[in-house]
Symmetry: C2
Subunit: 1004 residues, 2 copies
């Protein structure tokens, strides 16, 4: 729905500025959608054959190897062949159908097509013979993926689909057939993306059994029962036979099932047997589903490379099975699609049960809990999260500087790839992981160019003035405290960009070689600088080539929203003003670090924390490193299952402690900006615990590895926080960085779980945050992560997060390698951060929960520093030649609202998403609805128009018409999408957890 | 060319009764043929990529398994997918081309196609994008296949091609890429079929090396230098790289070569390397060929099941290789076909060398002489030859009785399949061999129905009268002396059909249970009957279920040409008139069997022959059974090569004798019709040597097996004839049953051979006959076989034939099984016949060579007996109800002319072939040209018109225009096809070895 202020009317034509389509809206209604569905036979069991191919965007081979079909010795899989041969076969017979999922591959293929072929493909799409489902760049993981990246990758997939294929390609079905468990947030996102149904294959084997027995394989899944209501609910269908063809009916070149041999004179004539087997299968499946329709997946991983085989045999199968109807067979087979199946089920007008929890953790059998991948490849998971931060910064800066999208596209695609359920999950082969890093790094470098251009433009002293590019360096190796510019330059500028929609202060840390630096803000005011030695452990990292042993710390205070401030830094020749006190002989009273609000008590023998005092409330909290010994097995039989890239299976119930309690080495540093303790836990685990002076949390910067395996034991390292909170077996983990899910030890909400793996079976994905709560004391303990990890609370008052894994056995779920990451000839070292919050409300009455949400945002969209070397340029010269401070916003948004997306969009428009970051009831004040005036948001431009879109930005929200479903024990509610609440102003109201999406036209 | 007698003018319209085509002749010239060839680039090396798939009509899998693609565990091969996906891909890009070879598969596929798809395929053919080459039912073997069956299977393939695809599908190129050696007769046949060129891959490795070095990989092969001249010559090209794609460029789903990865951003971008490699390959190959064109095969066994892969990558290869031309690369790659390559080579107008011998034996390396398959699976080879006899009888009777073709089609197809180079060769897996037998047997049973109908019709007392079918039984198990009718009936009729074009007498042998029978000819005259005991060895055959121990023999005298005579046989109750004398106590003077013309002297101790006296000339001849011990190896390295289904490799130079010279058991039987000696050589070899009273040859009916292998030694059994003829290392073997090839020990006519396998390397295929000659004494010794075998003359005066093989090791050329045939739990028993002729000219001055040719025909087209039980029908009753004698011919043809083909053809026409069966100079009289009057040939109908056709009957002879080639050291001759020599009469003149083909219209 378009809303216009009088001002905006100028710019808009006769009222409809709909998206640029290949076909008129009326045409679409007439030629695509459910109208193109095949006819079914009432009274018979209608078997919807769904020809599909599951094409991993990287796994055993790289994305390109899969696309081109190289490295057949690893896997015979070439997506270019799948798409080619499928299209050929669809053209041969109008009955045939196929569904295409991963837009990353479709786009690669599209670029190779002639215009003639493209038109044929469009015709197939328009007539429903080639249906796009899913449609995101990749089929994203649901445990480790962050909602921001998920929404991005759907948006980008949809955008490309629209460009290639037009409106009829708009997907109606979410198709998550392979991800290893399913999050409720994804159900919510899918609903908001406009999907009518969700199909998946993997759920706990006990759950599946239970659902089959109770005929609840299909249901309405409420993705946001507390916050968003029905607009986040989606009809969900659990596939019957994984996502494979029925046994004996895989006609693919990768299979060995017998084709249909219908020459009666042949010695191998097999029609009667094949038909009987198939009918038997259908009747069996039919028992477990409630309508006269069943969906039979006809495909598997990388199937249809030789679609001729598949379709030729399916044609015959359909022909001969249906021929049996004259003999009274009740089975009617047809080529169909998930949408058409969905429509048929919807037409049955039944009442469906409801689910409000999620499908984590996924167990494929009693000793195979797929909870290892929550933590597998921690460095990749970190890099991916950095990629998101970088992409958001790049998008915002491109939009604010009026750049086009070209600089963004690679990183959009790379981040789409990274969301794939074998990428961010860490379940790919090592060489593929390397290639993901290569792709992500290369695309970040492209974005760096755009950022450079944008910041250069925005820092020009006059808007019209062209200035030399700043040659910003992103110093992507700051995670190992390495940065050429800060180390080697005697004068340099640090530009700190804040991607948040409100001001934020940020402690900048830079490795330096000098001992004394002056830091000037744009007003020329000298900033407080604290020099800190690096933790000795970091100095020995083999991948680190820096000579820096010290870090310079200063606080970039109140950075403008969507804006930056530059700091002029000069190395001073004078002797260091020692601003950091080193406490090496620790007395008990010294063993505290902290600030006015929060203090951390340390054990004076071990240096480990013993308590956290927040606003005067003291919580005994300890933190330890431990490891689980990984089960070593060769997967002969379920009991011999190894802990691997997917599966977490400890061989002992209790983890082994790493913390040396008697002979620890630690050093405490205190200064004006930060107090921290450097702990050396053992030879391969170290940690810095720090509290910044003006922060509300404790930071644990751990470094783990190389995990030793000379004892031939794989190890899965955890960081465990223990408190005396009475938590009654309950803890909370976030779903994809958004809503919190309540977890209960040894419990599943919808069935009586039998846990033969009491550790792994209680692990849940922690995308950004895990919490426990003492209801009685009204105290909470929250740990925030800098990447996705697995976590649990196995004992009351405890929280544990798995931070690193090194394994010696493959778990036999396909990857074919033990998760034994190596670098420089030894195991990989992972460095990361946990942020601990503890207590109840803060001084402003803000709940810890709300406060930690705000912190999550600050860490996710952490200010980004860019460094530029200056050569003999004085501060004054610099200040005169550059604008050193810029804000993209006219005024800051309220703390509970964030600009989720701001990026250049097609035809000079911008894509804008606003989100309310709190849940209902999370905070008395901040959980309330908020109204934002779009006109007052942005500084560099004013709004001409804004059209509200569905979440994926591929359809005006007003045109979203989802199927209605009847729900058990409830009056039927319409699923009408939210209409723009404000029609004649630019005010946008956001309820808790709400995200609203706009395509805006602006005037500079 | 049509020729008409005045009489015939009546029936013919305005002068053109050309074949029924889909397009006018003019259209054909305009739209297909060389005109559709792609453009080449003068001055560059034009690389003709030839996309092809080599699709065995059975090998590791049965024909149907290959067609449907089942049993992928054995081999991933499904021809239906190849054809489907290739056609799809051809339609996608008009540049692409493909060649299709085996019509057996094309026909199966065609029947599944919609009319729409058929039209698309026709368009592809008409535009040259899908080119048919070869085009026979299968790609026939060249060693064991008989020319009659070869011509039949080409004719049938061409016929189906024409029906499916019309004129433009007429093949111009013979494509024998896989057969294991190449016969000169095939070159002759290909020429007469109208082919412009012949391509093959397999020739002796030394020969290939020599040809590459001397740039004689392409040449003119004279297929009949003595007899047919240029019309039997063909341009021949030896493929460079077997028939595979260049190493690294197999883009097939069965290969693992890297695809072309042309995304420069991909980590695997490989265009420069791929292009360089390919150009290097082309330049290398180009060195060995004489023109600016090379043919590069892009295919292999069962390639193109997923043609998308192949073509997508070839498109790119062409694009990127040709793009290098701007940088000076001399290579121009194009999609092409063998015809188009051929035309380009022809356009070069070079002068070519000539070859007049053949390409046998084929050796792939120094210890791998592919001479084992000449004899592998002797029982299959026999059954195939019987199939041909049966098919000719069936064809002739169907034609003579005016039946249509429906009864014939199965056997035509089955015999086409049997000619395949893994069928008649015996190089298929056991299960496939079983399936071939099943197919052949089933199709013979269908033909039996046609024969029954025809004979019933022809034996009706009045032409208009409908009589009950005769219920003829072919008694196909007479080869193990078993026949239900003759054994169990007290009265039965034997109808003996003579497929020869002149009268013949035939000794009928029938197993019976009674001891006395009367046999009446149609005049009621009682025939001489001789009762003979069966050789005891046959009685113990496990597969034999007959109780008969005796055979009844009578002579069916002067059977009419293309006619039959019935004999009324009644079992008599009287005591047997003993007509056979059993000689068990052999005195020296008794140890002779024979007749007035020919006598065989036997050793009175062993019963083995010692001499043959023919027309009074005594030739000392002995015959022995021996075996070669097979080399046992696992094929690790060439020296470890085993003797196997393909390869013959004895482990010792001298064969081991089987004949027991001291303690043999033998019995001599003499009677009015035949004299014979029953020899028991050892426990698993036996033999009957016999001379019929009115025959010119000695018959050796051997029975070998089960060959014992309890000593873990494979054995290859030979029958060896030794004489004192001075043969100087020279012997003669027939090529496919036609012209004789001169062989010389340890010698090849075109290069200096180095033989590391002195036995196997001197073996040659014997399709019907092997001979030696003492030039000085003007004496010859000829052995005729009843099936194809390998044979040699390793010492002067000797002839040996390999009659059975049982091996314990695979020779690692693909079949993956040791040739260890089993039946009833033990090794298979083979029973067969050699016919020996010895001496010089006969009493009429006919040379032994000519006489043995006549005998070859008599054995090949041996009269066929059909039996019918009568129930209480007297001779008179029978005689009155049936015509007991019929001749299809008005008058017999001269002895040197044979009707090679007479069969129902399309639209009520008949197909007629006449052949001259002698070579030039073989006999002073019979080798002369003969003129036959077509009008006087047939009894049941008169000729309305006859159109002379090319040998394959797919083109009027007058329209055959083959390419002309210049030959070294010779004036260029035109290859003009023979015009019908007689234009205004029905006289047809045949020179030596000439075959002429007509489509005739007849009036009944």
């Amino acid at each position: 729905m378009l809303f216009l202020t009088p001002l905006l009317l100028l710019a808009i034509g006769s009222g409809s500025a709909g998206p640029i389509n290949n076909c008129e809206e009326e045409d679409v209604a007439a030629t695509c959608g459910f109208e193109t569905c095949p006819q079914t036979e009432p009274g018979l069991l209608n078997v919807h054959l769904v020809p599909h191919s599951h094409d991993d965007v990287g796994w055993l081979k790289t994305v390109d190897q899969y696309y081109y079909g190289s490295k057949t010795n690893i896997q015979r899989a070439g997506v270019q062949y799948i798409l080619n041969s499928v299209v050929n076969e669809l053209l041969n017979n109008p009955e045939r159908r196929f569904v295409q999922v991963e837009t990353a591959f479709l786009w690669k293929w599209w670029q190779d097509l002639s215009e003639r072929k493209r038109n044929l493909v469009r015709q197939l799409v328009n007539s429903g013979r080639l249906e796009i489902i899913g449609g995101a760049w990749s089929m994203n993981d649901e445990a480790a993926a962050h909602y921001q990246s998920v929404i991005d990758q759907f948006t980008w997939g949809f955008r490309k689909l629209d460009e290639m294929l037009g409106n009829c390609s708009r997907p109606r079905v979410a198709w998550q057939i392979d991800p290893f468990g399913h999050s409720r947030e994804m159900a919510s996102i899918f609903s908001q993306l406009g999907f009518d149904g969700l199909f998946f294959a993997r759920l706990d084997f006990q759950d599946k059994k239970h659902r089959l027995e109770t005929k609840t394989t299909e249901f309405i899944w409420r993705g946001s029962p507390r916050n968003l209501g029905d607009k986040a609910s989606i009809f969900t269908s659990v596939l019957y036979n994984h996502y494979s063809a029925p046994s004996g009916f895989c006609f693919d070149v990768l299979c060995n099932d017998e084709p249909i041999i219908d020459n009666k004179r042949s010695g191998d004539y097999n029609v009667p047997r094949k038909v009987d087997d198939f009918i038997k299968f259908c009747n069996e499946q039919g028992q477990y589903y409630r309508t006269d329709h069943i969906l039979v997946t006809m495909g598997d991983d990388f199937n249809y490379q030789d679609a001729t085989m598949n379709f030729k045999n399916m044609d015959k199968l359909i022909k001969y099975v249906n021929a049996k109807q004259t003999e009274g067979s009740p089975v009617n087979v047809l080529y169909s699609t998930p949408s058409c199946y969905l429509k048929a089920v919807n037409d049955a007008n039944l009442t469906w049960s409801v689910k409000e929890d999620d499908f984590f953790p996924y167990a494929s059998s009693s000793h195979s809990y797929w909870t290892g991948y929550f933590s597998s490849r921690p460095t990749s998971k970190y890099f991916e999260r950095q990629g998101n931060n970088y992409l958001q910064v790049c998008k915002q800066l491109s939009a604010l500087a009026g750049l086009d999208e070209t600089g963004l596209e690679d990183l959009r695609e790379a981040m789409g790839i990274m969301q794939h359920h074998d990428a961010i999950t860490g379940t790919e082969k090592q060489k593929v992981a390397d290639d993901y890093s290569r792709i992500l790094y290369a695309s970040m470098k492209v974005c760096e160019g755009a950022i450079n251009e944008a910041v250069s433009k925005l820092s020009a002293p006059h808007p019209q003035m062209t200035v030399a590019p700043l040659e910003l360096d992103s110093c992507l190796l700051l995670n190992v405290s390495q940065c050429t510019v800060s180390e080697l330059s005697s004068i340099f500028v640090v530009t700190v960009y804040n991607p948040l929609s409100h001001p934020v202060s940020h402690y900048v840390r830079l490795p330096v070689l000098g001992s004394s630096y002056s830091v000037l803000d744009p007003t020329g005011e000298e900033q407080v600088v604290q020099m800190l030695p690096l933790h000795p452990a970091i100095l020995t990292l083999p991948e680190r080539i820096s000579k820096a042993t010290m870090e310079l710390v200063f606080r970039a205070k109140d950075l403008p929203p969507l804006g930056f401030r530059s700091y002029y830094i000069r190395r001073e020749n004078e002797v260091a003003k020692e601003k950091t006190e080193e406490v090496s002989e620790v007395r008990e009273e010294d063993a505290v670090i902290g600030n006015e609000r929060i203090q951390v008590e340390l054990d004076d023998i071990t240096g480990m924390i013993t308590a956290v005092i927040n606003n005067g409330v003291r919580l005994p909290v300890t933190q330890d490193f431990l490891y689980y010994k990984a089960y070593a097995g060769h997967n002969f039989g379920e009991k011999n299952r190894a802990s691997g890239a997917y599966v977490f299976r400890p061989s002992e119930h209790d983890p082994t402690s790493i913390t040396n309690n008697t002979n620890s080495v630690f050093t405490i540093y205190k200064g004006e900006l930060v107090e921290e303790v450097h702990q050396q836990i053992n030879s391969w685990v170290s940690q810095t615990v720090r509290v910044y002076k003006q922060e509300n949390h404790v930071e644990f910067e751990w470094m783990v590895g190389p995990i030793p395996t000379d004892d031939s034991v794989g190890k899965e390292v955890i960081s465990r926080f223990s408190s005396d909170l009475a938590t009654d077996g309950v803890f909370y983990t976030d779903a994809n960085g958004r809503e919190m899910m309540k977890r209960r030890l040894n419990y599943r909400p919808t069935w009586e779980v039998q846990l033969e793996e009491p550790i792994a079976g209680n692990y849940y994905p922690v995308t950004t945050r895990i919490m426990i709560r003492d209801e009685e004391k009204s105290l909470e303990l929250a740990v925030l992560t800098d990447r996705a990890q697995g976590g649990s609370s196995l004992h009351d008052g405890e929280l544990e997060l798995m931070i690193h894994r090194r394994l010696l056995y493959d778990d036999s779920f396909g990857v074919g390698e033990a998760l034994n990451e190596k670098a420089f000839g030894t195991g990989v070292v992972a460095r990361g951060t946990h942020w601990l919050m503890a207590g109840s409300r803060n001084e402003n009455g803000m709940t810890l929960s709300a406060e930690s949400r705000e912190l999550v945002q600050r860490k996710l969209l952490s200010p980004r520093v860019f460094l530029s070397t200056l050569h003999d340029v004085s501060f004054e010269q610099w200040k005169n030649s550059r604008t050193m401070e810029f804000s993209g916003m006219k005024e800051a948004l309220p703390i509970n609202v964030q600009i989720l997306t701001l990026e250049p969009w097609k035809n000079g428009t911008l894509l804008l998403r606003l989100e309310h970051i709190l849940e209902k009831g999370e905070d008395p004040q901040l959980s309330k609805s908020v109204t934002v005036d779009l006109q007052k948001l942005f500084a560099p431009f004013s709004l001409l128009s804004a059209e509200e879109m569905s979440l994926g930005a591929n359809q005006p929200l007003s045109e979203v018409h989802r199927l209605s479903w009847r729900i058990e024990h409830e009056r039927r509610k319409s699923h009408k999408s939210r209409q723009a609440t404000v029609q004649d102003s630019s005010g946008v109201t956001l309820g808790p957890m709400e995200i609203r999406t706009f395509i805006i036209r602006v005037k500079w």
